[in-house]
């Protein structure tokens, strides 16, 4: 039996990013009924913008903020101009609309940045501590911390604030919410804006942790969807656990020669298992009208 602890440590960092993205999907789905396939692409836009700003001489911290700002603008723009127009369509159509955004962004990014090798290195990468024979960089610690803080923060928002109440009301019935005086479009826009901030942050983290490449970052949405499905598109804490579990499982398969080449299948296997084992009605949430 190989020593798995180093892989556990590396898997946790990747898992926290999956979990963060998964929570971003859950929050938006709960508020608007939209499954955001473009989360990865918006994150990629953030990472590429940050790289570009840094390449033009902006200090890295400010460049990262530029990236998050760009992601937030894209996400809020979609929330304001597209999301409202597809609000009354079925969830499938809403999801496909976000897929359109993802592919458009991906094409645009390849057009602008091509396939030149490049990297995004945060100063946090230089800070590190040794744990079970693995160097844990600052980026990994921040990813995990951010992941737990986001789960706590969003849970409090949904449970304790007026906005959270409105979001939950929207998820239960869009038209009823409008009837009782909730500004539906405002809540939708806020949800999209918040998702943009989250996606932008994830893009920067993943661009630094994994690879600064538009395609790779765009498709990181896939394991995140698996995490969100584990949370039944509803539970933040199950999504958090799901994301971490997928990241760790994927990493600890590494030293096993026979399965290692196939370990990126982990999110799919997890997602299929959850879909097969859980009753179908688990996933019904928003009632359109």
């Amino acid at each position: 039996m190989p020593d798995l602890t180093p892989f556990l440590v590396t898997g946790l960092a990747l898992g926290s990013v999956y979990a963060l993205a998964g929570m971003g999907l859950v929050v938006l789905f709960r508020a608007t009924g939209e499954l955001n396939f473009a989360l990865g692409a918006i994150g990629a836009a953030s990472a590429m913008t940050a790289w570009q700003a840094h390449a033009w001489g902006t200090p890295i911290a400010l460049a990262a903020l530029c990236g998050v700002a760009a992601a937030t603008a894209i996400s809020a723009g979609y929330g304001a101009f597209v999301s409202a127009r597809v609000a009354r369509r079925s969830n499938v159509i809403k999801a496909v609309a976000t897929l359109g955004l993802a592919l458009a962004l991906l094409g645009l990014m390849y057009f602008i940045w091509g396939d030149t090798p490049r990297r995004l290195r945060l100063p946090l990468s230089a800070l590190n501590t040794e744990l079970f024979g693995v160097r844990v960089t600052g980026v990994r610690v921040v990813a995990l911390a951010l992941c737990v803080m986001t789960a706590i923060g969003i849970s409090l928002l949904l449970a304790r604030t007026r906005l959270g109440l409105q979001m939950r009301a929207l998820a239960d019935g869009r038209d009823l919410s409008a009837l009782i005086g909730i500004d539906v479009e405002r809540v939708t826009l806020i949800a999209w804006t918040a998702t943009g901030v989250l996606a932008g942050t994830i893009g920067i983290l993943l661009g630094s942790l994994v690879r600064l490449e538009p395609g790779v970052l765009t498709f990181m949405v896939v394991p995140s969807i698996a995490a969100a499905i584990l949370g039944q598109l509803r539970s933040l804490w199950l999504t958090l656990a799901g994301g971490l579990a997928i990241g760790v499982l994927e990493a600890i398969a590494t030293p096993f020669q026979d399965v290692a080449p196939y370990r990126s299948l982990v999110p799919f296997i997890v997602a299929i298992a959850v879909l097969v084992l859980l009753p179908a009605r688990t996933f019904q949430t928003t009632r359109g009208s």
Binding site: G11, G114, D115, T116, P117, P255, Y262, S264
Partner: protein, 407 residues
């Protein structure tokens, strides 16, 4: 591939070479005489331009070369019409493109093709139709195992092995890890070459084959390190190699192994992208001469690109391969007495005399066999903070699988 930095460097290099060499140097490589007129001779190429990476560089240098040929006498007075198709990394598109070029356009040969999937898709079609293909750069196994396709380059398998041979002979490495994407006839095939050579030498070899879309380079690096090898060969395209070197930097593993790569990491944008940490610590095997070498062909390639290519065309090793493919097919076409047809071209290719070039280490010929891998020797370069410098001149990659070609 398109890079802002290499373009700037290439533009500088071109300006430099133009300043140092008289304009005639470009023309000498492509002929002499009046601009060509009359019925064009059609040559085709299929490249993977749109898709995961842009593999059109070789066709761009070939196009520049043919433009130069046409301005300087053509093929005994006739111009070359160079037709390039994009296969979009899609086998069906590649098959359609080959049918269009061969059946509809009536090309007499192909030159400068570079694709991840085209060789496997169209090898049979070329054989059935008697079309000879000089690929600018061949990557997967099928490009080297077809009767009608002869790539200009050594191929990633020999390049990966070359990196290992250098570390074995000069740095005392006796165990290796081969890290490569798990794509059929690509990554596994590269690493098997190392294993076959290692078995002969009594050298220990291990593989880390992984999904090319993996999001977890740190685990790959830890897996490779756990194998306890002296040297790690990162046999990946440059954009995929960067995160692996980043992860190794995070773990501070520079001194824990000898770090190597094949030609794919020999990219002018690479040193800046992996950062100063790796200066002097990464060695790459290269299949053609260095991009700034001062031999006749390299100088001519750069000046032809400057005179006939676009400023935005890459000046990379793929481009060198395309230049050579175009130059060789031009020489073969000019030597044909009588009609230029696909049959006469294929026959001329199969019986051509070997051609020397400063871009290559040995003479190159198409050859009559069932498969072709004429380029078997390369050089080593070491990465510096802002570029690459040659650390070893020509040596052969002694792959046991080449026994049939050598005999």
């Amino acid at each position: 591939m398109k890079h802002a930095l290499p373009l700037t460097l290439a533009a500088l290099a071109c300006g430099f070479s133009l300043a140092m060499t008289p304009p005639a140097a470009a023309n000498e490589a492509c002929g002499s005489g009046e601009p060509a007129t009359g019925e064009p001779i059609k040559i085709g190429a299929i490249v993977g331009q749109t898709g995961p990476a842009d593999f059109s560089s070789a066709s761009k240098s070939a196009a520049a070369f043919f433009d130069c040929v046409n301005a300087n006498g053509g093929i005994n007075g006739r111009p070359v019409e160079y037709l390039v198709e994009d296969d979009a990394w899609n086998p069906e598109t590649a098959a359609n493109a080959a049918a269009k070029l061969v059946n509809d356009e009536g090309v007499v040969a192909m030159a400068g093709s570079t694709s991840f999937i085209e060789c496997g898709t169209n090898a049979r079609f070329y054989a059935d139709n008697g079309i000879g293909v000089i690929a600018g750069v061949g990557v997967p196994r099928e490009c080297f195992f077809s009767s009608n396709i002869a790539p200009m380059n050594m191929g990633p398998r020999l390049s990966t092995l070359g990196a290992a041979i250098d570390a074995y002979e000069n740095q005392g490495a006796r165990s290796f890890v081969c890290m490569a994407p798990n794509i059929p006839n690509v990554g596994g095939w590269f690493c098997e070459g190392l294993a076959a050579w290692g078995a002969d030498k009594g050298v220990e070899t291990h593989n880390v084959l992984h999904d090319p879309a993996t999001l977890d380079p740190t685990s790959l690096v830890l897996q490779a390190m756990a194998m306890g090898a002296d040297a790690i060969i990162v046999a990946e395209p440059a954009p995929a190699a960067i995160p692996i070197f980043n992860a190794a930097e995070d773990q501070d593993l520079r001194e824990e192994a000898i770090w190597l790569g094949p030609t794919s990491i020999y990219d002018t944008a690479f040193p800046a992208a992996v950062g100063d940490y790796w200066a002097g610590a990464i060695k790459a095997h290269i299949e053609f001469n260095t991009l700034d070498s001062d031999g006749v062909d390299n100088t001519a390639w750069l000046s032809i690109m400057d005179e006939y290519g676009n400023a935005s065309d890459p000046r990379d090793s793929f481009s060198q391969g395309g230049y050579l493919a175009a130059k060789i097919i031009t020489g073969v076409l000019r030597g044909i007495d009588g009609d230029i047809t696909r049959q006469s071209v294929l026959e001329a290719l199969q019986t051509m005399e070997a051609v020397d070039s400063d871009l290559l280490c040995g003479a190159w010929s198409f050859g009559p066999g069932d498969r072709h891998n004429a380029n078997q020797a390369g050089r080593m370069v070491t990465m510096t903070a802002d570029g690459w410098e040659t650390s070893r001149d020509c040596f052969v990659s002694d792959d046991p699988e080449l026994a049939d070609i050598r005999s």
